[in-house]
Amino acid sequence: MLRILYERIKAGSRTVKWPKEGYEEAELPERFRGLPQIEASRCDNCGACSKACPQGAWLLQNGHYQLDLGCCIFCGDCALVCPTSAISYSKQYKLAQRTRQDLLYTPLAPRKDPPDRRLDEIRRKLFDRSLKIRPVSAGGCGACEAEAHMLSTALWDMSRFGMSFVASPRHADALLVTGPVTAQMREALLQTYAAMPEPKLVIACGVCAISGGPFAFTSSGSLNEKVCGGVDALLPVDLYVPGCPPHPQVLLDGLLALLGRIP
């Protein structure tokens, strides 16, 4: 027992310093693929990115290429095929947004005012010091679940912000949904939501939960009937967290921004 204590003390605190100033990129991998950037001088609108995207996430809108972060799986194929190397992935991890519309991102014509990521004031005051989250895997592959679980470990330690995972929906303020919501999980998800007390939040974690991700369509191009194609087809979603899977920092950033604890 004493040896364990000694070894624990020797190991020291390993909780990440973020969101303290100056630690933005400390935990992000060197090759982390965050928000993609396009260099305006190099881009000639050739459309190679759009053709190469396996998810069809790049679309031409008003003369500029627009990326739907709710479909993007951050595979980096667009940057590879770009003939002028205009596309690069930045380390920008602030990807989570409140609405599906805010996930549409035009690198060359960015919005002047960044979208407000905070929750409405009533719910924010209720939840900003204590948020109990019930994770539900609705057909997820296991990666989003594993990344979300990381937040509850000592490393990311979300309990320092008053957030924790709970096992019962009766105790939960928020439902964290992962996976494309398979047809067989539809009813169970709705029942879980119904069991939660009001007011309640729904968080769509990962590209599958946002739009169905790679499973939205079958290989023949028709809609995949085995999945509902995202949570917002069934429930009102309060936070969308893009990524395949989202890095724990992306998810935690979204949660903290939702509660108004960071901009």
Partner: protein, 502 residues
Amino acid sequence: MRPISGLGVTCKMSAPGIFTHNAVAIPLPEYSPLEQFREALATGPRICAFYGRRLLQGCELYAVWADDEQGNLRIARSFTEKETWPSLTSVRPELHLFERELQEQTGLKLEGHPRPWPVRYLQSDLSPAERPHYQIDGELVSEVLLGPVYGESTPPGLFRFQCAGEETLHLEASLGFNHRHCEADLVQTPGTMQGRLALKKAELVAGDSSVAHSGAYCQALEGLMAVQLTPRAQAIRAVMLELERLANHLGDLEFMARAISFGPAVTCCARLRNDYLKTTARLCGNHFARGLNWPGGISYEADPGCLSEIRDRVLKAAEQTEIAIRWFDSITWVQNRLEGIGIVTEDEARQLGLVGLSARASGLQRDVRCNHPLGYYQILQIPIESVSGGDVWARALMRIMEYKHSVQFIQTALENMPQGPMHAGTRALKPSAMVVSMTEGFRGETVYILQTDPSGRISHCKIVDPTFHNCAGLEMAMRNEAISEFPLCLRSFNLSFSGYDL
């Protein structure tokens, strides 16, 4: 030669089908007579896969046997015009899920199967509670239904316990909640946009085991293309597969420590798991090696600086892991708590056809890396370890032993990293061919079977995730066990229901 199957009959040379090796393409085997095919199913070596394909008239049947001692695979094809399939489960229990899947996918009606209900409930409108199940009658027998939403960060599944008081007499897992239409979506020819999307989907079949799944899928394609990977690409694939194993084994130990409230080990293992994930991300940019494997090679640039950093990180994490592992090993109450719980004996494991870590914890020598090595595993061998307990402690011990070998393997591989290109290029697929490709993921044998049509396009894909074999192990482990031990047993098997449901 020692008897291979549970029935003690060794493989006969007159058996149907064609012999092949891991990821070596062969022409489609001739149809074997159905009687001979059934005989081989009942008596042959370990069954890797058994499935059917509906034709316009009748039904094609395929079976793959793995002879672990000889290191070869045998593929046979047969044909039936009948609409029924007399079940062989009673003589060969490891067929039970394959036969149920056969009925669900092809519509052949099972005759004499003890539990002939669907595997994934694809065509059924039944609510989870209404699903057919095995029931024990008796005044003192109660039934507990768990799922599909249960526990914290657990994959969706439905578990039906038949209990007498606290004791579980029988557990039945009923799945299908994760079904996303994966298998049919992988029937795509590489090189096209749809083919690339299929590769992304292969990574998501079981998202925490994506190197094993995409690796097996790419190996199968390379087999059909007759492309030999460059030594460097082989080595990096093997290193990443071992890194995935390290991260997940530590994660499993964390969850097992959590189930017995062993606090210090929970925090320590969780942190170490993250260290190994971050090491994976050093090369791939994400924690789950997404986008690493491509047909014919590796997509990420592995410069020497990156590789030496990976090596340093693994060394550093391994030092810390040593400390955490010692806690498991040396603290008596931990061992006492885990020992004797969830026992699967060697004989049961063989009969149920368990694979991977769960099989090795029951004393079976089943490891694709040693029995059917491919790529870098042919050059650098990894020792096969097994323990004989078959309980939760044995499965924890297996993870501890395998972690040591994996660290050793990564160190040696990175020190002797071959030079050369990362990509060997691609070719057209062989027409009318078939390939069986296996990798040893952290859960066990991950099998991809691909088949091409006469024009050289992929015409059929079959995936067998280790969970498909090992789910029966969990059911067996819970027999005569207190129902409160379920979380611990579940974590000790760490099943991927998304891999099972496809």
